[in-house]
């Protein structure tokens, strides 16, 4: 176990280091650090590509810093790295490219710590809820920098808002699990989206406006473009180096799992099999983006990093392909350009529904992907872009529908 822990810390550490180093190299350290500071006070609701706001270097550096916060938070609570915590660190880093900053994540983490105290539970029990809950970071940034209030009042309001959100996340997150029974991987996406509906309602009732923005990096930064293939290659090499000849066998064993929450592939199978799965899943996403003619912007890179993280905690080659196919079919049926950033994000993030394909077959997976497409395009408007895991929200709603139907059908047929 200690060997696995050491290996994982090296892998995650190198990943975060890659973000930081690539960030400093992309445009030089000066612009990267100046841009990083600018991002801390920038609006961050969907869809704000930090690479467009402050340059690709600053965006990648910010992602590395936010990923480091996640790693630090785990160490603080003495939680070892594993499938779910890998997913949590990777999603924090990935969304550090388009929405998460140190300033907007910390109040939410504090709120979740407070929730643990109120519930009489050790804070370690809610670590994952806190890390995934940083999805609501844009709400904290909005309260701090977009309300027009005097700075001190806005700052106090943002801290209070973040802590309040964190306080509510455990209760809602646990309730939401039962809605989809673990068949969507982005449970906190559903939870945060639900909570953000109320936040958006309160803000708009108080006279605030929440127009969605669309700020996307349209350059071709070489570091952003090649980060995922480099990371995937590193994971595959590490998988074979650690596998002692059993890597492929373990990778195939991972493919047999449904991926339903909570499927810690490292615990259920092995670290080498999981690392190979992460590398291959990342490459599938990356090759799809490039083949269809898409650009690796901040959100697309974030989506690919998230896919790789969750390939340790639910996503396999076998279960992601049907949902991606269903979403792709939907883009073609409804006439959306499949190479557009919008379509690409939906197709990459719809893989949160992979457990449905893993458990109930590719047909159900394709239906899930198709339905997810029609939902994802609408849900961001409902919460004003304040919940970063918008696709998670849409996927959660989709899974709740499908699971309810399947459960009713199965229970109706029991003698």
């Amino acid at each position: 176990m200690a060997t696995i822990d050491r290996s994982l810390y090296r892998i995650v550490g190198l990943t975060i280091l890659a973000f930081l180093v690539f960030g400093l190299m992309a445009e030089g350290p000066g612009p990267a650090l100046a841009g990083f500071l600018r991002l801390q006070t920038a609006p961050s609701r969907l869809l704000t590509d930090f690479a467009a706001v402050a340059g690709p270097g600053a965006a990648m550096f910010n992602a590395g810093v936010v990923g480091s916060l996640g790693l630090f938070y785990l160490r603080l609570h003495k939680i070892r790295l594993s499938g779910p915590t890998l997913a949590a660190v990777f999603i924090m880093a990935g969304f550090g490219l388009f929405g998460k900053t140190l300033l907007n994540c910390i109040p939410i983490l504090l709120g979740v710590e407070l929730a643990a105290k109120v519930a009489g539970k050790p804070p370690s029990g809610y670590v994952l809820i806190g890390m995934f809950g940083t999805s609501l970071g844009p709400m904290v940034s909005f309260l701090a920098f977009e309300t027009g209030l005097p700075p001190f009042a806005a700052f106090a309001l943002s801290i209070a808002g973040g802590i309040a959100a964190g306080l509510l996340l455990p209760a809602l997150g646990i309730a939401m699990l039962h809605l989809h029974q673990g068949y969507v991987l982005y449970n906190i996406g559903l939870t945060a989206g639900f909570l953000a509906l109320f936040a958006a309602g309160i803000i708009e009732a108080a006279g605030g406006k929440l127009p969605l923005s669309w700020e996307l990096y349209e350059g071709h930064d070489v570091f952003m473009t090649w980060l995922v293939p480099a990371l995937a290659a590193g994971l595959i090499i590490a998988a074979y180096a650690l596998g002692k000849g059993k890597t492929l066998r373990d990778f195939l064993a991972v493919q047999k799992l449904s991926g339903r929450l909570p499927s810690d592939f490292i615990e259920l199978v092995s670290l080498p099999g999981t690392l190979l799965n992460m590398g291959v899943v990342g490459l599938i996403g990356y090759v799809y983006v490039r083949a269809i003619g898409g650009t690796v912007s901040g959100p697309i890179l974030g989506a690919l990093i998230t896919m790789m993280g969750f390939a340790a905690f639910g996503k396999t080659v076998r279960n992601i392909l049907p949902v991606m196919a269903g979403a792709l079919i939907a883009t073609l049926v409804f006439g959306m350009d499949p190479a557009s950033a919008d379509a690409l994000m939906i197709i990459l993030f719809c893989t949160g529904l992979a457990p449905l394909a893993g458990e109930f077959g590719p047909g159900v997976g394709m239906v899930a992907g198709f339905l997810h497409f029609v939902m994802a395009d609408r849900t961001a408007l409902w919460h004003g872009g304040m919940a970063l895991y918008n696709n998670g929200f849409a996927a959660g709603l989709t899974a709740a529908l499908i699971v309810a139907v399947i459960e009713w059908y199965r229970s109706s047929r029991i003698d």
Binding site: S124, G125, Y126, L128, L177, H178, Q181, G182, L261, P262
Partner: protein, 131 residues
């Protein structure tokens, strides 16, 4: 009884596992002390050595506080799909799995909080703490 809702869900998940095997008999017994419970669930279904080991491994899953407090709440609650004994394993002190004289399986689970006193139970010494 403290935390009865937690106990109900753990019993529910273990019962679901037993019932998935379509047994002819299932017996559940519970012995309670001040801050702990010994739960015993047995059936009459024959199992292979591999299956017995897999059950013991799942119920003695290593302590995962980050999972127990969150995903562990799915135990005995979300019944679509197969029973998942590791959800139980994260939340208990220790488990022993043995064969009954009739050829079935007996699952002994020890559940408790911080003040759990293993001297009050028949739990094997040195096993307090799960995993």
């Amino acid at each position: 009884m403290k935390h009865k809702d937690v106990i109900v869900h753990l019993i529910s998940e273990v019962s679901r596992y037993i019932l998935e095997g379509d047994p002819g008999k299932m017996v559940i017994s519970l012995h309670r002390e001040a801050d702990g419970i010994h739960l015993c669930v047995l059936d009459d279904r024959a199992r292979s050595e591999g299956e017995m080991e897999a059950v013991a491994r799942s119920l003695n899953a290593s302590s995962r506080p980050e999972l127990a407090g969150y995903y562990g709440t799915m135990a005995g609650h979300d019944l679509l799909g197969q029973a998942r004994l590791n959800l139980v394993g994260w939340q208990i002190k220790h488990a022993e799995v043995e064969r009954t004289p009739e050829g079935g399986a007996m699952l002994n689970l020890w559940i408790g909080g911080e003040a759990f006193d293993d001297s009050k139970f028949t739990m094997p010494k040195g096993k307090n703490g799960s995993g």
